[in-house]
């Protein structure tokens, strides 16, 4: 069900949504049933654009995120939203003018990569809440921006009618069997790859996030096949960047995962407490896993920029033979900054 708070009723997004879907107008602050299938469009007052939270000590790429939507229809076992958000329903900022103003301010003096997929999936709800129709035309009129829609869906229809100028679309990827077990309700691997093929044929650059890599007995077979599949279908020239990182999380999230109905492979790994306090795989295994995926990708693709998210500089040096430095220095390695 889509709910619109009274104060957001006459926003452009609310009117756009109400044109195509049944909505119910509610009083501001009215408590709806808290479930993932409920959406509330309301006026938000936060700062919308901020640095990705990242972590201490491990390398951070200075990515920025825009929190226009909070909540996700998917139910990935490892999702940090289970810890971050106090609600299951999806909240959307109806006051998109404020959101866009924040985006504009963020890129006023310097180039930024900004994405909308931190507190939500960027595109999963795009058929219902067509944020891409508002965001894309706006960012295309800005200088200094590369806007990233990050998704586990195949909801790209709206984008096919928009200009890809300052926009890219990226997919989180895992082997099909892991997607089925640990990423319920998301698009299958096949549908994600098909969507990536389609969107790149419409002139969009694409990205891929091998994150989280999950430790399994047949890791090399599963991820090896995944990379073969990916690299045989997507044109290398259309790939803007690829990130790789292994599963990591605050320790409290492990207990949340343990409380899920279905058993998860996530809790069976060789874990230690990282220097940042997060639960991570034993470092030698991280090197093995990240090293394997990096090497496999580089065998097929020479050009796309590969980077590691929230990883120690020593792992960069070990596998890629350099340390990108921190934040502003790190981001200069991205293609869009050259």
């Amino acid at each position: 069900m889509i709910y619109i708070e009274k104060s957001a009723q006459h926003t452009y997004l609310a009117e756009l949504t109400a044109k195509e879907h049944n909505v119910e107008v509610i009083d501001d602050g009215f408590e709806i049933e808290d479930k993932k299938s409920n959406i509330v469009i309301s006026n938000h007052t936060d700062n919308f654009v901020h640095r990705c939270p990242a972590t201490n000590i491990y390398r951070c790429c200075n990515y920025h995120v825009v929190d226009i939507m909070q909540g996700c229809p998917f139910d990935c076992a490892y999702c940090i939203l289970q810890l971050y958000l106090p609600h299951k329903h999806i909240r959307v900022a109806g006051n998109t003018d404020n959101v866009l103003a924040d985006i504009k301010a963020a890129v006023k003096d310097q180039k930024r990569r900004i994405g909308s997929g931190e507190l939500s999936d960027s595109l999963a709800m795009d058929k219902t809440i067509p944020l891409s129709k508002i965001i894309v035309p706006f960012v295309n009129n800005l200088d200094n921006i590369l806007f990233e829609f990050k998704t586990k869906s195949d909801v790209i229809d709206n984008l096919l009618n928009l200009n890809p100028k300052n926009v890219m679309v990226s997919w989180s990827l895992n082997p099909a069997s892991i997607i089925e077990q640990e990423e319920p309700y998301t698009a299958t691997l096949e549908r994600r790859l098909k969507a990536a093929e389609t969107i790149s044929s419409y002139g969009y650059n694409v990205g891929f996030h091998f994150d989280p890599l999950i430790m399994t007995e047949d890791f090399e077979k599963l991820y090896g096949d995944l990379i073969e599949n990916l690299t045989s279908r997507i044109k290398e020239e259309s790939v803007e960047y690829i990130s790789i990182s292994t599963f990591r999380c605050p320790s409290e999230l492990m207990n949340i995962i343990r409380q899920r109905k279905s058993p998860s492979i996530l809790t069976k790994g060789d874990f230690i407490k990282g220097i940042d306090g997060k639960t991570r795989y034993f470092k030698a295994e991280r090197i093995r896993m990240i090293g394997f995926v990096t090497e496999k990708l580089k065998k097929q693709w020479k050009k796309p920029f590969i980077y590691y998210c929230m990883e120690h500089s020593s792992i960069w040096e070990k596998i890629l033979n350099y340390d990108p430095g921190e934040r502003e220095e790190f981001e200069t390695y991205f293609p869009c900054y050259k």
């Binding site: 430790m215 492990m254 207990n255 343990r258 409380q259 058993p263 809790t267 069976k268 790994g269 060789d270 874990f271 230690i272 407490k273 990282g274 220097i275 034993f282 470092k283 030698a284 295994e285 090197i287 093995r288 090293g291 120690h312 020593s314 792992i315 070990k318």
Partner: protein
């Protein structure tokens, strides 16, 4: 307050504390009489407090209980539900820092835990988040944990880790408890090899403490020792010198796995 003969009184709802040696107090909620203490007393004469709201009645009845155990807390929650009380106005929950939907869901489910497990949670003061983890599991998992504590006196920390392990491997937990049941070793080959060499190193260094403090996220080994004489100092130097080769081999092992 007044002394009152009350024939038609509910003696069960508030009878949650076995060690209640208070006088027989009573009150009424919406005209219905409830005994709230002195349950060992017989007869129908009560010290009647008057008409109370559900919230105030519960708060008053709790004030007569000295030791509020986990068992008592879950029974208080049960009373709140039966009387439709506002849990936000029940003082004991705030005092025990029990708040949020999840915590109260745990209390509701905890009513059905095996008795010995509830007693264990009480005695060992097991945190509510560990109890939450247990109450979310299927019955066979809960029973497995309840059986295990019959034969093993675990500390609070050890119990927490045990519960986490059981939950991690819930799909291979046998239907019937077995003391021989072993959890798989989740350490990788590299980790096992490094751990074994690390243990050897610690043993070789005798009374010199040698430590890695970050699970080999860095190759840093912290070495420390105490001396009380020149002889001690010379002994230490000997041990350090004799272990040069072991240190070399250990760092070669770390290098093999990219940790140096």
């Amino acid at each position: 307050m007044e002394i009152k003969i009350i024939e038609n009184i509910n003696k069960d709802l508030f009878n949650i504390n076995e060690n209640n040696n208070m006088p027989a107090f009573a009150l009424s909620i919406n005209g219905i009489y409830y005994q709230i203490s002195g349950f060992k007393m017989s007869g129908s004469e009560y010290i009647y407090y008057g008409e109370y709201s559900a919230n105030d009645a519960i708060n008053l009845s709790i004030s007569f209980i000295n030791n509020i155990s986990f068992k008592i807390i879950i029974k208080i929650y049960e009373i709140c539900n039966k009387l439709n009380a506002d849990i936000n106005k029940i003082n004991i929950f705030q005092e025990k820092n029990i708040k949020g939907r999840k915590s109260f869901e745990t209390l509701a489910k905890a009513l059905n835990l095996p008795e010995n497990l509830i007693d264990f949670i009480d005695i060992k003061d097991i945190p509510l988040k560990t109890v939450s983890l247990i109450t979310c599991q299927q019955e066979n998992i809960i029973n497995f944990i309840a059986e295990h504590i019959k034969y093993n006196d675990l500390s609070m920390q050890a119990f927490r880790k045990y519960v986490e392990k059981v939950c991690d491997f819930k799909e291979i937990i046998p239907e019937n408890y077995s003391a021989d049941f072993q959890f798989p070793d989740t350490r990788s080959k590299s980790h096992i090899e490094i751990d074994e060499k690390y243990t050897e190193l610690i043993n070789n260094f005798k009374n010199i403490k040698i430590n890695n403090l970050d699970s080999f996220e860095s190759p840093k080994l912290n070495i420390s020792f105490d001396i009380s004489s020149l002889d001690d100092y010379e002994n230490i130097l000997n041990i350090l010198e004799n272990n040069k080769i072991n240190i070399k081999l250990f760092y070669e092992l770390l290098e093999k796995y990219g940790l140096k």
